[in-house]
Homo-oligomer: 322 residues x 4
């Protein structure tokens, strides 16, 4: 027997493209003959019963909006055995037989617990950090990268006009993907990520000096949040090279904005896929991108995977930025 009533929620940090996924879950669910409930503010909405039935028009004109139309929040209450039990009881009480959880690793662990408590969940990776081991791509990553690139392109103008060096911190606490991709795209002289230790002299100063000798007069250094310390770094670079150096932290601006095509399309396909899994009676799954294609994996297995950083791409990045 198929699941008849499903719910969808967004949890953790918001990410552009989450709305495309919510929309696809809703439309796919309804057109499959299921009822689809929207849950507001993540797992909190399951605890507070802040849940409403959606129709085809509930998700109209949201695909181009950043953020999440269902809102999101952290939920310390849910992160307890009692909280999970209460949420599961509430689901049963409201007739919710499956939940699509759109969010990051933390949200996935909640989904695993909720599944164990009897409410099958399907997870969709939505986070700008691309820091989920089980998938090559997370919804929101492309928008965040393009926002970072656009901002660094602006910085480049003033950096170039003044023959300066700019040290830019982009998001990514544990994961250097955003820094790596952004660094390639802006032609950064050095890219610092948490996955690769760096040597100040060899990886920054020597690289600057080498390119300066070939005529380069302005420099961009991209630093992942997880490496941090951009103010000190800027001072050290200026002290060592004599080149005027400024630090910039791009910050939360990277989280927002109308999603790029890629986040809308991947969000749509993953949302479709998630609703279809619940329709076919499958829970405890994560929708992932693997070899460029959308598929699904077991939720427990997904949570046990470890990320691998693309060191080869990192090397290519530095090979061409000379």
């Amino acid at each position: 027997m198929n699941t008849k009533t499903i719910a969808v929620l967004t949890s953790g940090g918001d990410a552009p493209g989450m709305n495309a996924a919510v929309r696809a879950v809703t439309r796919t669910g309804i057109s499959s003959g299921m009822r689809v409930m929207g849950v507001r503010r993540g797992y909190n909405g399951l605890l507070n019963r802040d849940v409403f039935e959606m129709n085809l028009r509930s998700v109209s004109d949201i695909i181009n909006d950043g953020g999440t139309a269902l809102f999101t929040a952290r939920s310390p209450e849910f992160n307890t055995p009692e909280g999970v039990k209460e949420a599961a009881d509430n689901c049963r009480d409201m007739g919710i037989e499956g939940v699509v959880v759109i969010g990051g690793d933390g949200s996935f662990r909640g989904a695993r617990d909720l599944t164990k408590a009897g409410i099958p969940c399907v997870c969709v990776p939505g986070t700008i950090d691309n820091d989920i081991a089980s998938t090559e791509y997370t919804i929101g990553f492309d928008t965040a990268m393009n926002t970072a690139v656009e901002m660094v392109d602006r910085l480049r103008d003033t950096t170039e006009s003044h023959d300066r060096c700019s040290v830019v911190e982009v998001m990514g606490r544990r994961c250097g993907d955003l820094a790596l991709q952004t660094g390639i795209a802006v032609g950064a002289t050095s890219i610092l990520v948490p996955e690769v230790p760096f040597d100040f002299q060899r990886d920054i100063i020597d690289r600057m000096m080498f390119t300066q000798k070939t005529g380069k007069k302005h420099f961009i250094i991209v630093v992942a949040e997880g490496v941090g310390g951009v103010d000190k770094l800027a001072k050290d670079i200026e002290a060592k090279t004599g080149i005027e150096t400024r630090a910039t932290v791009l910050g939360h601006v990277q989280r927002g904005g109308s999603p790029t095509l890629r986040d809308r399309v991947v969000g749509t396909v993953m949302g479709y896929y998630a609703a279809d899994l619940l329709y076919r009676g499958k829970g405890n799954r994560v929708v992932v991108m693997h070899d460029g294609k959308i598929t699904d994996v077991d939720l427990n297995e997904a949570l046990n995977m470890t990320r691998t950083f693309d060191k080869q791409l990192y090397d290519i990045a530095h090979r061409v930025s000379i």
Copy 2:
């Protein structure tokens, strides 16, 4: 023995991201110990010897520029046996031992001919149309799609304010990929592509009427260039539904603009890859994306492949736009 002097050219229609590829070819080549020559205006530059030696700084600050810094042109003279011979002779004369050709299918055929005439070529797919059978992705596609989406998002504002229907033609003469992806991203009610025959009543009118009943009041229809006829289509829709309908052709605006992150990164990696192939003495290859990864295939085989349209994605697109 490795190739010592290589050249790089861009040919056919320009595409955002070509500059990232030119830059990566140049920097990778030079840092491998090769000389790298820039060729202006495609194969014409080989015929006219419009060729110059590049250094590391020749490609500075171009990664964020649209178009191609090497210029491009059609070359009817090259497309003759005499033209190919002359180009090959010129290459030999100038010491060019390999050429990276960045362009589309037509440019690849020129590269095959030039390879046969004794100058090994490596091709890099650069065209906004994504219409090359051997690769999942062509440089410029992501930028063109995002430009189309941004423009349709603008159209949506006025379409919605007036309760209208907009019929929008996007690029893609033989290939519906740009229309399909754009259509998903803007939530188009119908997407018309050359690969899938459509029925006016069933695929447009019925879909509009169905969603209108659920409360929808404005509609977007995305049409690939290869289907065309948007003016007539708009009139027919208005006549049949009574909904005011306007046609828009996005046109050449889709070709330009600062490349998105994806086109900069894919352009960089493919350019690196191409220069490395020539460095390792390999010619007659095409750099491609396969299963989301960059690799290479034989040029003759590549030219014999046939494209397959993603009908499943097409169906998902229409499933969620209701």
Copy 3:
């Protein structure tokens, strides 16, 4: 005695920034102690009584949206003596004692008629064309110009890569302001506007030939909609110069998009001003920009003014694009 209940509507073509004006009318009205009614779809809403009371939150989060949240429509029924009388009667019946009309010249004539029928109106100029004689600036103009510039900047990439000429039609049926400003901003070789007759040889060909002699290889010609004929023009230019020439019509894309800062700020100040006029019992006025400042003029006088084209700016434009 002050007006106690006022209404606000948007009429004619939509323009980015209208929402800022609606928001400011609403908030200013309510904070002055008045009731503010929103009217949907222009004058039609007064005929159909499609009117709703607004509160402070009714206009939340619309300042950054293109189009108009109140929708707009043409209203042939209203444009008759009977229609005006019915609208006035409906206003009286619903207790509406004054109306803010946001739109263009045609909408202003409706406001004059409604004022004569006993419902004092205050007009706010909202149209992307900047074609209203009584004001230096109309809401939406800045956004439309910047959209046109952004699109031509994209065209420039491909035009430059191919050594081509691009002939671009921008909006402006009777008014060349959008073409003139856009032409200056993109460095157009020639700008054709309805207000200034042009000579094909002298104003286009000779200018192209002169700059070509100094080394210029790509050309942009900006043409106002009111001049039109871009396809023929492109053919004629190509025939005469031998330079490959393409025509592009930017079209309705220019109407939409998130408003620029200027349209949000001018919309806000004009909306504030309009509500304040009604609050102070003044009707039959148009809010205008004069010498860079917001003020108001008599509606009848406004409708009798004639526009003057800035010929001096036109001459400067051509002086620097050589």
Copy 4:
């Protein structure tokens, strides 16, 4: 007798639109029959004789670039009587009979000194801060404001998704114009500028509480750099209201980017105007915007003027953001 050879330089902080002004000075100068010299890196270029003759094509394709193609720098050497004398001597030696100086107040003081030393200067206001008393508008202001608005619009997405408050610092050390205009455009609940003292409880907390009662759940506070202290402010707001609050400093990103139409057009007209003044033998002038029109004032008088903050606009801003 007219000035025969003039020079143009950009000084102080770079601003988008400076290139439009440089281009217009160059083209206007040459087409008037003058020689035009480009000076690199501000007054330093006059000291180092880093000067080159420009032709019509020297300024091609720069109107859409951010930053300044002539580069800019601070020049402590120039800011001494000896430095000014040396620069004037160098000018005489190189035959430079007049200089167009594009920059801010500090640069204008240098121009006054250089004029006194015998080289007539004409100043063009170029700074993103709009902090020059003699003109209503400075080149670069519109681009910087729109960049700030675009970034805050992105912040708004995540602020809204999380029901948060965002405290955003925008540029403007002495001048609150950028904060004021940005604050209006993003619908900020409070705007803090150096020109108007604020009361934490009344101007921030009370305003947040009032709007919260009407249903508002997310808040944006815009703070000028000259007020600063956003981290502490965010903590204080969170402590007082219980609403999660984050601080963001937009930083140097606001300085760059392709100029908006307004900065390109105003830059063009002011540049034209400056070259024409020198052509007509007038020095010691500042090109300004007054009542929305471009005109010129005496340089000494300009430097003695004091700015007036638009308190009325400030009040309107807060009137409509409730």
